[in-house]
């Protein structure tokens, strides 16, 4: 199994410490003009960024677009990256979250007003391909839909904590908020998620 396939198939359940030495070496080679180094850097982190953006936006095409935007910006501004301030993965996540916010703002009207008020959930999961439909159980579909009910701010914190298991300090760094704010958002997100799932299980 090649590296990118490995990265994409095995979502890191626990927090994977970034390899600063390898990142630093790849970045130096990129800045020296080595195109292969860009490919290695992309393949190392594309899977993480894609899952993050898909979790936040819950729309495959938007997630792919933001994935491209993130790496296009990161490649262009690679000489501005400061390893003393944050790990490369954290820096990438900061860019990705910012791009996701921009994407949501541009799509605010059609996705917030009509779909939200009518109680419709316009995501890929509502109209999955046959392969995708088999991938999610009934419980998982309810959980995925419950995540949609979270506000963008709560969903960002929940995604970074639930899936990446990042510390609240790291979450705060990525989202640009104090760690205490990240903690309170996580508390609210978890409580809201449980309430939605309990209501749905009572109805079913």
């Amino acid at each position: 199994m090649t590296f990118p396939e490995q990265a994409l198939s095995s979502w890191p359940v626990g927090h994977v410490a970034p390899d600063h030495d390898l990142d630093g070496s790849l970045i130096a080679r990129c800045l020296a003009g080595e195109e292969v180094a860009y490919t290695s850097l992309y393949e190392r982190y594309a899977g993480y960024i894609y899952r993050l953006t898909f979790s936040l936006l819950q729309h495959r095409e938007d997630a792919e677009e933001v994935l491209q935007d993130t790496f296009e910006y990161a490649f262009r501004k690679l000489d501005h990256y400061d390893a003393d301030k944050a790990s490369f993965k954290t820096w990438l996540y900061q860019i990705a979250v910012s791009r996701c916010r921009n994407k949501r703002r541009r799509k605010w009207l059609p996705t917030f007003s009509l779909s939200h008020w009518l109680g419709e959930r316009l995501t890929d999961i509502e109209n999955p391909t046959p392969d995708e439909a088999l991938a999610l159980s009934g419980r998982q579909r309810r959980i995925w839909q419950a995540l949609q009910t979270l506000s963008p701010k709560l969903r960002e914190t929940a995604v970074l904590r639930y899936y990446e298991e990042l510390s609240y300090k790291e979450i705060g760094q990525i989202l640009g908020i104090p760690s205490k704010t990240a903690e309170s958002r996580m508390r609210l997100a978890h409580k809201a998620l449980k309430e939605v799932l309990e209501v749905e299980s009572d109805e079913s």
Binding site: Y42, E64, E72, F75
Partner: protein, 190 residues
């Protein structure tokens, strides 16, 4: 640190999410070893976390090969001006701007005929450049009022462009501002 059971049971979700201070987390952990009800609550919380993770893993699985095709092209490298590949282009741009501004001032001095004493070009070579651009006074101009002659001396090129050779028909545009008020349209006079 000993906590009451009710308080500890409320702290179980925060404990599982890692939201408790170290001392409080230790107290909850100690309580879990003795309270089956709270242990079950903690298990349910951990199960929910695992379900959420697994849900996202399944829901965000990419189309095989798709991610690799989405890689953007690396930024172009400038071979003509290597300085643009680094951060050195900014001081170069600032230097270029200064050169353009300097040349603009020189051009203004040459073609608008600034007084030599006010010009930044005070060197003899610069003065000779101004002299060659300045036409020599004609006989008609020698009969003009002193103020007009002073204007011509200070702004030789501009005055020849805007002023009539007839001193009596001097256009308003050529007069100093102090005289403009006396030369306003007839309708403004009582």
């Amino acid at each position: 640190m000993m906590l009451e059971h009710g308080k500890e049971s409320r702290l179980v979700p925060d404990y599982v999410l890692g939201l408790l201070p170290a001392e409080t987390a230790e107290a909850v952990e100690s309580h879990l070893t003795t309270c089956e009800r709270c242990r079950e609550a903690a298990s349910r919380e951990r199960l929910l976390l695992a379900e959420v993770r697994q849900t996202v893993t399944s829901a965000t699985r990419p189309v095989p090969g798709r991610i690799r095709r989405l890689m953007p092209a690396p930024p172009a490298r400038h071979t003509f001006l290597p300085a643009l590949n680094s951060g050195a282009w900014q001081p170069l741009a600032a230097l270029a701007l200064l050169v353009v501004l300097f040349l603009g001032v020189v051009q203004r001095d040459l073609f608008l005929g600034q007084p030599a004493s006010d010009s930044i070009l005070s060197s003899p070579s610069a003065t000779s450049l101004i002299a060659t651009a300045t036409p020599t006074p004609t006989a008609t101009q020698a009969t003009e009022p002193a103020q007009t002659q002073t204007y011509r001396a200070n702004y030789p090129v501009l005055s020849n462009l805007v002023m009539s050779p007839d001193p009596a028909g001097t256009p308003l545009a050529a007069l100093p501002p102090a005289q403009l008020n006396n030369k306003q349209s007839p309708s403004s006079n009582p």
